[in-house]
């Protein structure tokens, strides 16, 4: 037996029940004369409201209502929100402007320092390399065991594993590894002797500045390549064509520190 409470009966009269529920209500109504009487009573009230209340629509209204609507401006954005939004936008702009300016300034300053530092140590390396002649490296090439010992010793100084690049494919023979110093920091210099011409040096030092892409330059008759990566600065320098320099760089970065 379906529970025929007043809400269900009203919803049934109004056709608001699901079909299966409505069928259950109809079945229950057949056995419930009280509910049937209630249905009749309720039905009377469903249709009588519309006409009287529609007649209310003819009530003369105060012209103030229409005047208010037509004379007042609509608010496309509430003042407070607008103010808050504008204030937020202003603060945001200032904030990012500040960050942007600071970033640009810091970046500029940092780049300036970096460039200055890089220039200094490049210059130092170049100046030192100028003094190199073929005779400087006339000693016989070290044996493999000695190379390994050098590699280990210099690596400890550098604070990292050091690989001594094999540049024999480019005609450069590894001759010597030594520790120099620039502004209190160790500089590892690996010297190579080409088949012809002056020695070529590959130098590594620890740095505290950001990575820097490969820069090619020349100074005092020597060509060099400079780059910075993962806390280390590198210079490849020698009196050799740029193309050759890039070929060496390619080999070095493949199996370097």
């Amino acid at each position: 037996m379906y529970l025929l409470d007043d809400e269900v009966l009203v919803a049934y009269i109004d056709g608001q029940l699901e079909d299966d529920v409505a069928r259950q209500v109809e079945a229950a109504l057949l056995e419930n004369p009280i509910a049937q009487a209630k249905i009749r009573k309720l039905k009377d009230t469903s249709s009588i409201l519309k006409q009287p209340f529609d007649q209310l629509l003819n009530t003369p209204l105060s012209p103030d209502f229409a005047n208010t609507i037509m004379s007042k401006k609509v608010v496309t954005m509430p003042d407070k929100r607008l103010q808050i939004a504008l204030a937020s936008a202003f603060v945001t702009v200032l904030f990012f402007l500040g960050i942007g300016t600071g970033y640009i300034y810091n970046n500029y300053q940092q780049q300036t320092i970096q460039k200055s530092q890089a220039d200094s140590w490049i210059q130092a390396v170049v100046d030192y390399q100028i003094l190199y002649g073929r005779q400087t490296l006339e000693n016989p090439a070290p044996a493999l065991q000695e190379v390994n010992q050098t590699r280990q010793r210099l690596g400890e100084i550098l604070g990292n594993d050091l690989l001594i690049p094999d540049l024999m494919g480019e005609g450069l023979l590894f001759k010597r590894g030594q520790v120099l110093e620039f502004r209190g920091n160790p500089v590892i210099q690996l010297a190579y002797l080409p088949e012809q011409g002056k020695p070529v040096a590959y130098c590594i030092t620890k740095i505290n500045t950001n990575n820097q892409a490969l820069v090619q330059g020349s100074s005092k008759g020597l060509s060099y390549l400079h780059w910075q990566k993962d806390g280390y600065g590198y210079i490849l320098v020698g009196d050799i064509p740029e193309k050759k320099l890039y070929s060496l760089h390619k080999i070095i970065t493949k199996d370097s520190v």
Partner: protein, 175 residues
């Protein structure tokens, strides 16, 4: 943009009679209803940015009106003694040729206005404005079950009040 705002205002003006009618069902008083309609119009203009074109303006405005009534004006009206507690007898501006029909309509309106506010409001929205239970529930911010309950109690209460009038009217019509 100007056209859109102008269209919004025109629609709002056209809606005024229905806004006022809903106001009467809420307040049960012409005086309080006028205050409520005025406040509703002003609020609708100030909330224009919240209305989405393409949606039902009447539903949106009624919701605003209901909110103002519940949250602001009802308590003031009760304090002033002009609120929903005791409705006034409403006199229709007769637009029907048949005086008796107008009188009957008045009786129905007054019987409806004599119902508790929540019930008469639900009756008006569903049986006069034609909203579904769901739409009415959304507008009044109550569950559908509450609307159903208000409708059933309202209709039973109305049936009790109007029983005699309906019977007598039927007997007159059958003559």
């Amino acid at each position: 943009m100007r056209n859109r705002e102008s269209s919004f205002k025109q629609q709002l003006v056209c809606l005024l009679p229905r806004i006022w009618r809903f106001g009467i069902s809420l307040t049960g008083s012409t005086e309080v209803c006028n205050d409520l309609v005025q406040a509703t119009c002003e609020r609708a203009l100030s909330r224009y940015h919240q209305w989405r074109p393409g949606t039902r303006l009447d539903h949106w405005v009624f919701k605003i009106m209901h909110s103002i009534w519940i949250n602001e004006l009802r308590s003031q009206a009760i304090r002033r003694g002009t609120g929903f507690v005791d409705h006034e007898n409403y006199r229709l501006e007769s637009t029907l040729p048949d005086q008796e029909s107008s009188l009957f309509n008045e009786q129905i309106i007054n019987a409806t206005l004599a119902l508790p506010e929540a019930q008469r409001c639900a009756l008006l929205l569903v049986y006069v404005e034609g909203y579904s239970y769901k739409e009415a529930a959304e507008l009044l911010d109550v569950p559908i079950g509450t609307v159903m309950s208000r409708l059933s109690r309202g209709r039973l209460g109305l049936a009790e009040k109007l029983q005699l009038q309906i019977k007598s009217r039927r007997s007159l019509e059958s003559v």
